[in-house]
């Protein structure tokens, strides 16, 4: 399978990227690791007459950790995330999730920016970023803006990023408490049948805050505020878990596909969320 012909550009800076995007509008697309885009181009599901390779653009490959926040450049790969010990120390959920994405070859190439910009409901990072209340910095001809992950996803492959904008960085408030990224998949390397991100804070045996987001159970990632809120003030006992799971099930909207019928997906979502909450709580 060979993609349709395209023009290839490899600008050295963001100004170069933005001017090609401006010139060709809809017909131009940026590429980071290419591990979502190239397969789609081969299948003719993406038509990209003008392909802009971001690999030579500087300033997007750094991981910066300060007292309050973590800033990760868009071109940081999943394997960079796994290998960064300081990052694993302050935000272990990132490593836990990255290790569950695909296989080593894909993780060397796939970038955080590509994973969150792609808009595929199967991608693991968007839900995680909603759980962590991350925000995405995008830059266009009119300058920079910052979009919260919780407001970024509109429908499958439709996001708040405009065509002429490039996502440059992801900023995450330093997570507090216990964490878990739990993912059910049919086989290693697969996208999730259901996945849950949980970050939870324990103060003297009571939950004081909980953030929950679900992956591949709607046409966007789902941040379930009601599920998180159901745990706050409880000791995360069985009764609280039941209410949280019911709340989450009210927020997702799975469809039948080759990963199973709707009833099965709802079942798996519940099991996965219970496991994720239990594991996060045990670490909180």
């Amino acid at each position: 399978m060979i993609p349709a012909a395209f023009e290839y550009y490899r600008p050295k800076d963001m100004a170069g990227v933005l001017s090609i995007l401006e010139e060709h509008g809809d017909d131009a697309r940026v590429m980071a690791g290419g591990h979502s885009l190239i397969p789609m181009m081969k299948l003719r599901m993406a038509d990209v007459p003008h392909l802009i390779d971001l690999q030579d653009v500087g300033g997007m490959s750094e991981i910066e950790i300060d007292a309050d926040a973590i800033k990760i450049g868009a071109l940081v790969t999943q394997s960079d995330i796994i290998d960064n010990a300081a990052l694993a120390d302050v935000a272990p959920i990132l490593r836990e999730a990255a290790l569950q994405i695909s296989d080593p070859q894909v993780r060397y190439m796939g970038t955080l920016g590509g994973n969150v910009a792609n808009g595929d409901p199967g991608n693991d990072m968007p839900g995680l970023m909603q759980c962590l209340d991350a925000s995405f910095t995008v830059v266009g001809q009119d300058g920079e803006r910052v979009i919260p992950a919780r407001d970024f996803y509109e429908a499958a492959y439709v996001t708040a990023r405009e065509d002429g904008e490039v996502l440059t960085a992801v900023t995450i408030p330093r997570p507090k408490g216990g964490h878990a990224y739990e993912k059910q998949k049919r086989k290693i390397g697969d996208y999730a049948t259901a996945a849950a991100s949980v970050q939870i804070v324990n103060d003297g045996g009571k939950c004081v805050s909980a953030a929950i987001a679900m992956t591949n159970l709607s046409d966007t990632p789902v941040f379930s505020k009601t599920a998180g809120d159901a745990l706050v003030g409880t000791s995360v006992d069985d009764a609280a878990l039941k209410i949280a799971v019911a709340a989450m099930l009210g927020d997702i909207d799975p469809t039948e596909d080759n990963r199973g019928p709707v009833a099965f997906k709802n079942h798996v979502a519940g099991v996965i969320l219970r496991r994720a909450i239990a594991r996060a709580w045990s670490r909180a």
């Binding site: 349709a4 012909a5 080593p104 894909v106």
Partner: protein, 164 residues
């Protein structure tokens, strides 16, 4: 047709220069343009790993990279790892421990394993299975692949110790 691009690659220590259409996938460059036929085309959809090569120190499925993307890169294929007269310890171990049957996945398998052993010189079975998850084999059931990689790891560690 789109404009051809000038591409320079270093493959197995040799500089290769050519003009390629941007849509030329690296696996075709290797196999059809450069006649380097060790990397195989299995699924051609980024799943099976038969086309795995090492690019600037990373294991990459060469069906999911354009040749133009690899401009300036250093690439190692199975041909650059060892040959009939100088088998790499991994090649030797795959032969000794029946790490293959039909052999189709083997070049990608061994190329990936060289990188795994660089990162984890003495991997556990679990680490091998996790680190080799991007390479599929339909003959061996993986058992003997794990054994082969363990045997090569032991041999390479012993050789390294002897040299020190």
């Amino acid at each position: 047709m789109s404009k051809k691009k000038h591409v320079t690659l270093n493959v197995n220590g040799k500089t290769e220069e050519f003009l390629a259409e941007p849509r030329e996938l690296l696996i075709y460059t290797l196999r059809e343009r450069l006649n380097i036929t060790g990397p195989h085309i299995g699924c051609e959809t980024s799943h099976c790993g038969a086309c795995t090569v090492t690019i600037n120190g990373k294991s990459v499925k060469s069906c999911t990279m354009f040749a133009v993307q690899a401009e300036g890169a250093e690439i190692t294929t199975i041909e650059g790892i060892g040959g009939p007269d100088n088998l790499h310890p991994l090649q030797e171990a795959f032969k000794e421990h029946h790490g293959l049957q039909c052999g189709y996945c083997t070049p990608g398998m061994i190329t990936r394993a060289t990188k795994l052993l660089e990162e984890i010189p003495n991997p556990t079975e679990a680490e091998i299975r996790f680190g080799m998850a991007g390479n599929l084999c339909r003959c061996t059931g993986y058992q003997n692949i794990v054994k082969s990689i363990q045997a090569a790891a032991a041999q390479m560690s012993a050789a390294k110790e002897a040299a020190e």
